[in-house]
């Protein structure tokens, strides 16, 4: 019986081996080799020059994740308390942007944030910029919004917010309503019910939401290039340049990828450990 079933797993195993395991192995090989095929650690030494890029990437990804959490949790929580048909409609609306191409979505933010883009035009029309100039004595023609770290974070939040909302929502919506009634029965008011029952029980959703936002944010390159204008170089851009750009150096690119992957994995492990610890701390 068991052998029979395992036969169906063969295509999956082959697929994983070719498209997941093999690329990682190739990446590791590249990371430890120089252009001529000899083994070396120089790629990792060279990476020290890019410490600032590492720092910026993790900083922006952390900020974006925090903002997603701050927006995503309340949205998920209040959504789960609404009627079923409202929930369905809201879910479709939240998912709707994801049916559009990622680049298209980000391009449209460019036209919104540009110096003579939609937002600045609006601010000009309603006299906000003139007002600002008057108040501060400056002489601005527009607010510079694009090509800033803020724009990059905005792009990350906009693109990855659904990945925060979905896991949290699906955990909260499945909470047994009688648990909340039981807590109220035992003397808890609404705030206490949330703090002592809903929040700890929704923690798994929060953790998976954080993972699902942080990992793509830290490795993104399209967002930073389009909304950061190349001035806010992130890890993703750096890696891309090693493979496609003028700085062609796949060995270095592989090394950076490897280090980033290891850092992300460590982050996730620490966070999951922290999550478990949290649960146990509540238990004790």
């Amino acid at each position: 019986m068991k052998n029979k079933l395992s036969r169906f797993a063969v295509p999956y195993v082959v697929w994983m081996a070719i498209f997941v395991v093999a690329p990682i192995l190739i990446m590791v090989l590249y990371a430890f080799s120089n252009g001529e095929g000899g083994a070396t650690l120089s790629n990792f030494v060279q990476m020290g020059d890019y410490a600032a890029v590492f720092g910026r990437s993790f900083k922006l990804a952390l900020i974006a994740t925090a903002i997603c959490l701050l927006i995503g949790y309340p949205v998920s929580y209040y959504l789960s308390r609404e009627g079923a048909s409202f929930q369905r409609t809201a879910m479709v609306l939240i998912m709707l942007p994801m049916w559009m191409n990622f680049l298209l979505r980000t391009y449209s933010w460019m036209t919104i944030l540009e110096n003579n883009g939609l937002l600045n035009q609006l601010f000009q029309k309603i006299g906000l910029i003139a007002l600002y100039n008057q108040l501060t004595g400056s002489n601005l023609e527009y607010f510079s919004m694009i090509n800033t770290q803020g724009a990059v974070v905005l792009g990350m939040v906009y693109n990855y917010l659904p990945f925060m909302i979905l896991p949290i929502y699906s955990v909260i919506v499945k909470l047994d309503y009688s648990l909340l009634e039981a807590a109220r029965d035992l003397g808890a008011n609404n705030v206490t019910v949330f703090r002592k029952v809903i929040l700890p029980l929704s923690l798994p959703g929060v953790l998976s939401g954080i993972t699902m936002v942080f990992v793509p944010s830290v490795s993104t390159f399209a967002i930073s290039r389009m909304l950061g204008g190349g001035t806010e170089l992130l890890l993703g851009d750096l890696i891309e340049r090693q493979f496609l750009g003028g700085a062609y150096n796949p060995q270095l690119g592989a090394a950076i990828s490897l280090v980033m992957m290891i850092i992300v994995v460590i982050c996730m492990l620490v966070m999951n450990r922290f999550g478990e610890g949290e649960e146990q701390a509540v238990m004790l």
Partner: protein
């Protein structure tokens, strides 16, 4: 019984125009074990939820200790609930589940420890403090739920079918356990169940409900021995319910024959429902019987046989320790106190016939009032 604690006055509850509680009036005494008994959909759980504060009645009042509490939220009532599926917190261990209410009340740590330990002892779960909820059996979870509610020293404990998910053996043990805990704590239990045996075993007072109305309130003995209508008679225990006429006090007429009984107070020749409990019927030789019938079905039940006897087309259930084979002609004798006479009600004619017990005989269609014809049917 001591003083009155809770009173429900003219309580009505409607969900989307559907009346689920129809003018409920009930008072509950301090330290009483009261059971709301009825089939599913009778309104018993709704009544309990109104007392607990989870549902607001459409009209009518709930008073607690003389104070109207309609609008008091659950967390401000001196009432705790044991939920149907226990509703234990999966992220907390046994100790913290029980301590939940005390922590919210900001009880000092040493008192929390003392009270939780004490309560776990009451429900026989000492040593389980650090267990996770999913490591407990159904019966243990049940007892944690009871401890979690009782540790707050409520004046009233509400229990919503708490034994429904347990197997028969455990259920029996827990019935005794619950009764013991109630007496030990000396507080009011309001218990909801559809299991009549549970209700009779544990309660001081049983409230039988159906279709959102109270059918009868009384002690278990009253409810069993003196049911008010055919619904109660059928729901509590087994009953043969027959059409009869009250000729005069202490004489009831069925099958054209007069039987001595001990009921009175009816109009002369008033049509009535006659209840005869299966265990009150004695099987005697044919010639000594008040009635003669044919055995159509025998089921061995361990302690007794359940036999179905056809008396001129109406089938009775008789519980007896003597075996009578299918097809046997037997006589029956009923003592005067074996009859219970009830006024006709909306439930008359709906219950108390055991024809469905022996469908394979399909005799009902051919049944006639003539004994002779019955004999020929037996040969089929």
């Amino acid at each position: 019984m001591s003083k009155e604690l809770i009173r429900l006055r003219n309580l009505c509850m409607a969900f989307d125009d559907e009346l689920v509680l129809d003018n409920i009036n009930l008072y509950i005494n301090d330290s009483e074990f009261l059971t709301l008994l009825g089939p599913s959909g009778c309104g018993k759980t709704t009544t309990l939820r109104i007392i607990g504060g989870f549902t607001t009645p459409t009209s009518g009042d709930v008073t607690f200790d003389g104070v109207r509490i309609n609008d008091v939220p659950p967390h401000k009532r001196q009432i705790n609930t044991v939920f149907q599926k226990y509703a234990l917190f999966p992220h907390l261990d046994v100790f913290e589940n029980v301590a939940f209410g005390l922590r919210i009340a900001k009880v000092p740590q040493d008192e929390v420890e003392q009270r939780v330990t004490e309560m776990l002892e009451v429900v026989s779960l000492k040593g389980f403090e650090q267990r996770r909820i999913d490591q407990l059996s159904g019966g243990q979870q049940q007892r944690v739920a009871i401890a979690r509610a009782l540790v707050n020293r409520p004046k009233v404990l509400l229990l919503d079918e708490p034994l429904g998910a347990l197997d028969l053996r455990l259920r029996k043990d827990m019935q005794n356990e619950l009764k013991r805990i109630q007496q030990q704590m000396g507080i009011t239990f309001i218990y909801v169940t559809h299991d009549q045996e549970e209700a009779l075993t544990m309660s001081d007072t049983v409230v039988v409900m159906d279709k959102g109305r109270i059918q009868q309130i009384g002690t278990p003995e009253d409810i069993y021995n003196e049911p008010k209508n055919a619904f109660v008679a059928d729901f509590i225990g087994e009953s043969n319910i027959l059409n009869g006429t009250m000729v005069r006090d202490n004489v009831v007429k069925m099958y054209g024959k007069e039987f001595p009984c001990v009921d009175g107070g009816f109009a002369e020749n008033e049509p009535v429902d006659v209840v005869i409990r299966p265990e009150d019927i004695d099987i005697v030789p044919m010639e000594q019987g008040q009635l003669v019938g044919t055995v159509t079905n025998v089921t061995f039940k361990g302690m007794q046989y359940d036999i179905i006897v056809d008396f001129r087309g109406f089938k009775w259930l008789i519980q007896t320790t003597d075996h009578s084979p299918v097809g046997a002609r037997i006589g029956v004798k009923i003592d005067p106190d074996g009859f219970h006479i009830m006024k006709k009600s909306e439930y008359s004619g709906m219950f108390g016939d055991y024809s469905s017990y022996s469908e394979e005989y399909e005799e009902l269609a051919d049944a006639s009032a003539e004994l002779e014809e019955e004999e020929s049917e037996d040969e089929e």
